[in-house]
Symmetry: C2
Subunit: 376 residues, 2 copies
């Protein structure tokens, strides 16, 4: 049996495939048709002038998009590669990890796996990181070298007040690493204005591109620390990546050309349709349409009011119903949502609004959700 027989969208066009199962996922999200078309282009040498044109144009697009003059690397890895890289290149001994859920936990786990001391600032689930608690922690622990912040914590559907938190870190003169995996593209990030040292994301979230590409900006200060770091490994060594990029050779390892072509295509599409502010506004509209819809159904969102993520809604299940039940029933109706994650696995389910989603899809999804909820 061919694996593609599993898919209900086999042997139909991209557009028809999407119609057959509408994705409101938080992992790989639905990709834009022109991105998928770009993914299927024939390959060519990554040392050719065509690749270099694609590479440096994509870097410039991203620098514009997140307002930075910092070097941006296109890692052949997921976003997690940048967690490992940040720790290995820039932290000698101690890091403070702000934890709002599973991906904050992962950053701490990565730092510990690399032999660093990890201090944790972990408010109750659903609460954002508090600037005053962060300030207090940094005051009490002057040996902390860097602070890791999850901008948008997908697992609980929460966004942190990034600029305010980064300001606190900078007041203490520390480095700051921002996991922007599920926020970059979905809400504004101004890297240079905020003075973020490492700001990273992945292809498969708000850009609506398949997974397999890590995207991250690295400040000069982080670069300088990398230059004097020992035992930092090779694959994620910022200096190795910088050298090839600055010499016009692109990447030290073979780049994920399809995903980079897809990202380049997505960024051009955003530009053509109205630019990044138009895109951020689209995310807000989608997100609010979903939130208003679920409120009408009598459901509530998990995080503290005002801290709801603009890219994913984490929704409390009705009393006595498990998230997996709703996920399963929605899939039967042709909508792929996301189950709860980590500690919230049973008591929540999630509806992402990242990637290729039309407003009309949202209305159809909400209708279906209403039917599912009332049938329980």
């Amino acid at each position: 049996m061919d694996i593609r027989d599993f898919f209900i969208w086999v042997n139909i066009s991209v557009e028809e495939r999407r119609r057959s199962l509408k994705l409101f996922t938080v992992g790989p999200v639905a990709c834009y048709p022109e991105v998928l078309e770009a993914m299927g282009l024939q390959m060519y040498s990554h040392r050719s002038k065509e690749y270099f044109a694609l590479h440096y144009e994509t870097i410039r697009q991203l620098q514009d998009f997140i307002s930075t003059k910092n070097e941006i690397f296109l890692f052949s890895s997921t976003g997690t590669g940048f967690m490992e890289a940040s720790v290995r290149n820039c932290v000698r001994k101690k890091i403070l990890c702000c934890i709002n859920g599973s991906f904050g936990e992962r950053f701490a786990e990565v730092a510990e796996a690399n032999g660093r001391d990890v201090l944790k600032l972990a408010p109750p689930l659903g609460e954002p990181i508090s600037t005053s608690e962060l300030n207090e922690m940094l005051t009490n622990h002057p040996d902390v070298e860097a602070v890791a912040i999850t901008h948008n914590e997908t697992s609980v559907g929460l966004i942190n007040p990034l600029k305010d938190l980064v300001d606190v870190v900078k007041k203490h003169g520390k480095l700051v690493f921002v996991d922007a995996v599920s926020s970059m593209g979905g809400t504004e990030i101004k890297v240079d204005e905020s003075n973020i040292d490492v700001c990273f994301s992945s292809s498969q979230k708000c850009f609506g591109v398949p997974p397999g590409l890590g995207i991250g900006s690295v400040s000069e200060r982080a670069m300088d620390l990398s230059a004097s770091a020992s035992n930092k490994g090779w694959y994620f060594d910022f200096k190795v990546w910088e050298e090839d990029q600055k010499k016009g050779r692109g990447t030290p390892v073979t780049p994920a050309i399809p995903q980079i072509t897809g990202l380049n295509t997505a960024l051009k599409m955003i530009e053509r349709k109205g630019g990044r502010n138009w895109y951020f506004d689209l995310y807000k509209q989608r997100n609010q349409r979903i939130r208003r819809g679920i409120e009408k159904l009598g459901l509530s969102t998990f995080p503290r009011k005002g801290s709801e993520s603009p890219t994913v809604n984490c929704i409390n299940t009705p009393e006595g119903i498990e998230g997996a039940t709703i996920y399963g029933k929605m899939r039967e109706k042709g909508f792929e949502l996301a189950e709860g994650y980590g500690l919230l696995k049973k008591k929540t389910f999630r509806i992402g609004n990242m990637g290729y989603i039309e407003m009309s899809d949202i209305d159809l999804m909400l209708d279906a959700l209403g039917n599912v909820i009332s049938s329980l």
Copy 2:
């Protein structure tokens, strides 16, 4: 300007694109049309039953292909990720790196960047690793824990006598890591029979799939060493990958779904057309057709006779001509070869025979090469 305008194959079908520029590359190689079609499929959750079906089926296909019962991991990285992984998980202090060219050098560089002591066995360029020298080196350095061997050194077009070399390493009871990036798929490798601890490759070579996926088998002994390794990092921790894979959860980070789908498709195509031995024979035929053709043109290959790679020919340029000149003129005629690499950059050029290449393409390429050579 759209980046795709750079390509002479823009707005034409995959098949037409291939006709417009025939690839004899050694980096990303020409991909099979059905693989490219699979690359453009819509995404879906990597925690869905469809992904798990794809994932575990692909693992089984690969286990059959390289004759192993070892765990096989699908890293969201290039093949180089497995160099870093092998060193970090399995080597405490000292590794012996066998070096035939640039990719052997890279393995040593990766080991050094991870703080390990590196002993080097580096015969003159063009010579294979000698079993007797390897034996002598291991006898003189009993503290070596592992040996790294580049099976097929792309940079000089040379293949090593893998089984004989692994036998020597195993006689000394050491671990063996095999960089099979440009050999896996192009010639037979029997992992369990040879007792190879880590055997890794990439999607973008002999399988004819785009870049962005690392493929590697890991022995139980390597796994046991990983279990007790310290400071091994997280991203490439074999135990982290094993845990998710054994629990039926696939991968710890988001997998490169398009490339995995492409690889699954390529392996099915090989099976359908005659199986792995048919595929290895095809490589041999392509390779020899190219070698005979260049010999007819009065050109010679670089490596020692009998050690020529079955997947890429490294060819000495005619006296006084640089490799880049031939590369450039061939491109003008619609054929992308590969320039020389590293120390051989000026004095050689290379013709790969990996991926989607027809015998008739080879004849056309050789005709064009004849015209280029006689015009110089």
